[in-house]
Subunit: 211 residues, 2 copies
DNA sequence: ATATGCATCTCGCAG
DNA sequence: CTGCGAGGTGCATAT
């Protein structure tokens, strides 16, 4: 038993918050879920704090979350209406767009062949050619971790099976690259490039001024 | 402007919730952060809804979150006190502990060499030996997905470079294994084992009774 | 409905 | 403090 905040949203989710852990609840049930009040809660131990209500929230896979309520300090309900939504900036998609405009920022002489070049196991962020005409596959992340290196490795493996392309170089580009990811990349002959987002955006702005 | 829930926690975090997205806020600032009310909010557009207050939340890296408040429908504050905390059951650590006690549940004749056996790129969950004396590396997940297979593959690659160990088998153990992960594992010669947590715990309880 | 990839992920642990 | 792995991750998108 503890004083906690229970948040029931219109989407059907239920969250139980303590006064810490940032935005993450102690426990929760994601929608879709159904909500029921179990009748006549019986206290197992007479010494325990009395339970005045018992809620059961049932999730889609049959998981249940039971909430035993002792005392209610505050209970309010509000209709929030339709939300106008939220727009974000600076995510991976923007990095990809900027680098597609300025591939030479990754390696001098690099030119873009296409964005989201398809392979059987998913699209490569950028496919480029270097000054010598060789193909270069680029994987872009906001934060470069091992997963990204694995992803690029799989793409390279498939691209290199394509006789039309010939040898394919790999470039792993991110605003920040974790040491372990860097080690793994180098071990696999993949070049790491850390990106300065603001500088790149500046480059883009300068470009616009020229035309 | 929209009707939203603003949650300010004792840990200093601020979250802004819409009436959907399960427990995730539309926007937030994680602790540690400081909270200030900017004075005299000026409305840029006379037609816009009036802003009666303007909050600025500043994060550790200098990020700021500004909250413009029009009308307050409800405002309440509660002292939640110290939280007794939350104990979880059935997470990967428990699975690992149980399997370390009962490695033969993975494959008959298997015995434990050590838990968290170190490699240059991280620890292998379990290192075991089979009846024939050969080494077996075990990766344990609650939910087996492709990432886990990749992880085990990396460990195996490194362990197999160690001449002291000789050939090393791989076992991928999880309560639930996704079809694609299973296909990838089999393609790489890795054995998949789905674990019945309750049965394993029963095995453990039975063991305790013997001593 | 399911698989894949991103995220201001958050959180806990261990060096 | 930092890095890294786990999470009932959540969430959007493409298939």
């Amino acid at each position: 038993m503890a004083t906690r905040l229970i948040l029931v949203k219109a989407d059907g989710s239920v969250s139980i918050h303590a006064d810490d852990r940032a935005y993450k609840p102690l426990n929760w049930m994601s929608p879709p879920c159904t909500f029921a009040e179990l009748s006549a809660p019986a206290d197992a131990h007479p010494d325990a704090e009395p339970v005045t209500a018992l809620w059961e929230v049932r999730g889609r896979d049959g998981d249940t979350l039971q909430i035993a309520i002792g005392e209610v300090f505050s209970d309010s309900s509000h209709d929030l209406g339709i939300d106008p939504g939220l727009r974000k900036d600076g995510v991976e998609a923007h990095l990809q767009a900027l680098l597609a405009e300025h591939p030479a920022a990754l390696r001098p002489g690099l030119t873009l062949v296409r964005r989201e070049h398809p392979t059987p196991i998913g699209p490569v962020d950028l496919l480029c050619r270097d000054a010598a005409g060789g193909y270069v596959a680029v994987e872009i992340k906001r934060r470069g971790e091992i997963d990204g290196v694995e992803q690029l490795t799989r793409y390279l493996e498939l691209l290199r099976r394509d006789p039309l392309l010939g040898p394919v170089d790999g470039v792993f580009a991110a605003q920040q690259i974790k040491p372990q990811a860097r080690v793994l990349a180098l071990d696999r002959g993949i070049t790491c490039v850390t990106i300065d987002y603001d500088a790149l955006r500046g480059l883009d702005k300068a470009d616009e001024r020229l035309f």
